[in-house]
Symmetry: C2
Subunit: 493 residues, 2 copies
């Protein structure tokens, strides 16, 4: 086994370091020369593409269309929505000039002071402002509504502490921006897209999530309500995996977007926005992977099955090649993505370790003796179990096994979350339990002040007020004031 493959830090030793190393060793991404920006390498990007394709399909099935809006936003747009500017202006990349010139002193190029912009432009941290400025011209009457646009784009937020996929200055995402004639319809849309996200996380990423509402402190800057899906990582910390916002009429008012409603009255338009990003890659990696490397859900794995020949002579390899060719074709016809790795410059042991590290769900190995016996060796990545099976019908067996692996890793993640979810009735109990990690269900009086105090004293925040949670009222663990229901506290990424 190659040294670099064995060097992966163990989760129990240092979870955070394990993650950072895994991202690099599995060839997913690496730091770039630009502070806080990563390079997404081909293998990482192939997983992201699979996510994109599936999400895009789900958006289109729910009636959405794609469009594209400018990367740069006039500075003044940010100021138009009061909360929004507070949330986003502080961490922006600002374009001030539009030309470079040769350095008069001969040292490369310098900014041309003559080419200063009258108004600075901001690289979009999110696109509500530029999009609502555009929607003003698209919307005159209720007949123009709803508008159900999505955009796949890069965005930029000048983050101080970055980690690959989890928090980077530039990241890739999609942002849905919808416009509606009624409040009810906009609220319905926000919940619908939350459900799309939850469905995607659970069925494709195999990541169980809790759907809920954010407290005021954690709400999107400019939203009246932020819905969220929250996942638990193996170390018990929460990862916010997608958000959907009911924006009310805030952006319509800021950008003066009115329409004639069915009663022939002029009214402000209702809005939502919703997004998921390359952060989902972080959730995927941290939920399933182990000390041997990535574990990918079959529904998103760029390579679902790898086949490796074990041979001692060119004749044996020829024979194996001939046997594998129809197998590869059969897998392809079944819609299973397969790689036959008969490259001659690496030993089987190296290949085994490499595909383990890369999280390929099923590995098949075929040797000369297998050919004689009509058998094949199969290893499943999730449990690392090996078995020898008849080669006849192996394709059908693998097809069923891929589904089994998909279900199994979801169940495993769910079991972990359940084992690390607990309740606390007193603040003392809470403080003890939060040190163990995990989700804590506790009563809270609903005030930002109490939440702030808890955050300062324990580093835990309210991840969400769960939509499907127990609705029994109680008393706030800190202040003793009334609480409508338990909410989920956790430390988070």
């Amino acid at each position: 086994m190659a040294k670099e493959l064995k060097d992966l830090t163990k989760r129990a030793e240092n979870y955070s370091q394990w993650y950072n190393e895994l991202v690099v060793k599995a060839d997913l991404a690496e730091q770039s020369a630009v502070r806080g920006c990563m390079v997404i390498k081909p293998y990482g990007y192939a997983i992201w593409e699979k996510m994109q394709q599936q999400l895009d399909r789900m958006f289109k099935e729910t009636g959405h269309v794609n469009a594209y809006f400018p990367l740069l936003i006039p500075k003044s747009f940010l100021s138009k929505e009061a909360d929004h500017v507070e949330g986003f202006a502080k961490e922006c990349a600002v374009v001030t000039h539009y030309r470079l010139k040769n350095d008069p002193e001969g040292r490369g190029v310098v900014v041309d002071p003559e080419a200063k912009l009258e108004e600075e432009l901001i690289i979009r941290p999110t696109s509500e402002t530029i999009i609502w400025n555009t929607y003003r011209n698209w919307i005159k009457s209720y007949r123009d509504l709803p508008i159900l646009c999505n955009q796949w784009a890069n965005v930029f937020r000048w983050e101080m502490r970055t980690r690959m996929f989890l928090r980077t200055a530039e990241f890739l995402w999609q942002e849905g921006h919808t416009a509606h004639a009624t409040k009810e319809e906009a609220m319905e849309e926000a919940v619908k897209m939350l459900n799309v996200y939850a469905d995607f996380a659970e069925r494709y990423m195999a990541v169980p999530v809790i759907k809920g509402v954010k407290s005021a402190n954690e709400r999107f800057a400019g939203a009246l309500e932020t819905y969220t899906i929250e996942a638990m990582m193996q170390d018990g910390k929460a990862l916010q995996s997608g958000t959907s916002h009911f924006l009310g009429q805030n952006f319509a008012k800021a950008f003066d977007v009115k329409f004639i409603n069915r009663n022939n009255e002029l009214e402000y338009v209702w809005a939502t926005s919703w997004g998921v990003s390359t952060r989902l890659m972080g959730a995927l990696i941290m939920t399933h992977s182990d000390d041997n490397g990535l574990v990918l859900p079959p529904h998103l794995a760029p390579i679902q099955v790898v086949i490796i020949p074990i041979y001692k002579s060119a004749e044996q390899l020829d024979e194996i090649n001939r046997r594998v060719a129809p197998m590869v074709e059969k897998f392809r016809n079944m819609g299973i993505s397969v790689k036959y790795d008969n490259a001659d410059n690496k030993r089987p042991g190296f290949k085994f370790a490499d595909y383990e590290l890369k999280g390929v769900p099923v590995r098949l190995a075929l040797g000369a003796r297998d050919l004689e016996n009509g058998t094949i060796e199969l290893m499943r990545r999730d449990t690392l179990e090996k078995e020898t099976l008849p080669i006849e019908g192996i394709e059908e067996h693998v097809k069923a096994l891929l589904e089994e692996i998909q279900t199994n890793i979801y169940r495993k993640a769910l079991a972990l979350r359940e084992s690390k979810t607990t309740t606390a009735d007193t603040y003392e109990e809470f403080k003890e339990k939060i040190e163990q990690g995990g989700f804590i269900l506790a009563h809270w009086d609903g005030t930002p002040e109490t939440e702030e105090k808890i955050k300062e004293e324990t580093k835990a925040t309210i991840r969400c007020i769960p939509l499907d949670g127990d609705k029994t009222p109680g008393k706030c663990m800190v202040t003793g004031r009334p609480s409508a229901q338990r909410v989920i506290f956790a430390r988070n990424y």
Copy 2:
């Protein structure tokens, strides 16, 4: 017919205005609040998505993988390749600060002078520099080669005169960046991708193109050779539609990217880059469309067939709905994208004009009398011919017709190009003919000075030295010096 649909300027009156209006009226794109940047509207984006999907498939079939590199490039990177900085530094968006703050005088937000970057960052005008800086760490030995990466991204060039799709400050594109162990392999790759582009343009866009080599004046900044596909628009002007560059070892030298070759020697890596952009949308629009609006090639039309009911009563509509339902399903099963527009708030005449404007290749109209007679009315967008056909088997008829339309519009564009391609043997003849538009095949002495003189005096440039052109030598029409072959001159977009 709705007034706005009829207002389209005719091509013969003002071709340029016709194009600008069509882009807006067909809902493809519009100007944004940011100078030189457009909003790509859902219908325009749907066409671009179809282009992307097909190109992406062709890139993957030729062994390429996608990756993602940072949007921002350190200013000093641009200076590392001498020609490159000359070509790109002059029109860059420059990020100088990373924070805004509340204006002390209470007027919105201002740039925080404390948040000035040590080194300015440039929004990528193209990514050779940041990518070759990254490749340095990926390449040690010939075993790491070739690297065949592509990136789908937005880029930014501060253009002074912009036109939607044809020349915008921000545009969407793909950029392939490959690294090779030998000069021959890199040159082969550059030609291979030129062929992929030509194949895509002709088979999917139905745009005939001429493959050729650029003269030194028109070469990409930093390339040793630039290959191009050149298309002719209906007004006889040329549109450069895609380029593929053999970069030699220029970027490897600039970023110190060396590898151990098969002879165990340290050598600089060989490179190519190649790209097409949303400019292709301009080529698509200008090649096929007419005074009634867009004409889309069936292989890229988001809606290939639209079905419109003609009815006088709710009962009639019900009956038509029932007859159309299985037709829609059959089209879908045949892989044909179909829209049944039975919206009640617009009259059939409006719908007819609207789908004509939007370039939907085939329109079917079904009325009460058709139901009685077992017929259906069909109009093909390319010729505007109408006929009444048996409804039985209409799906198969349409399927064949879509292919016929695809071929027909390609042939029409090719015939136009041929009719507007001529030769000139003297500079006098050239000057006369260039006023008529079109491609002129003429002899040229191969010097930048002569090309520059011709450009100044006639506004025509060498579009390319055609790869498949007549290789008969001759004498330069301007200087009388020897010429290896005729080259293509034209005015261009």
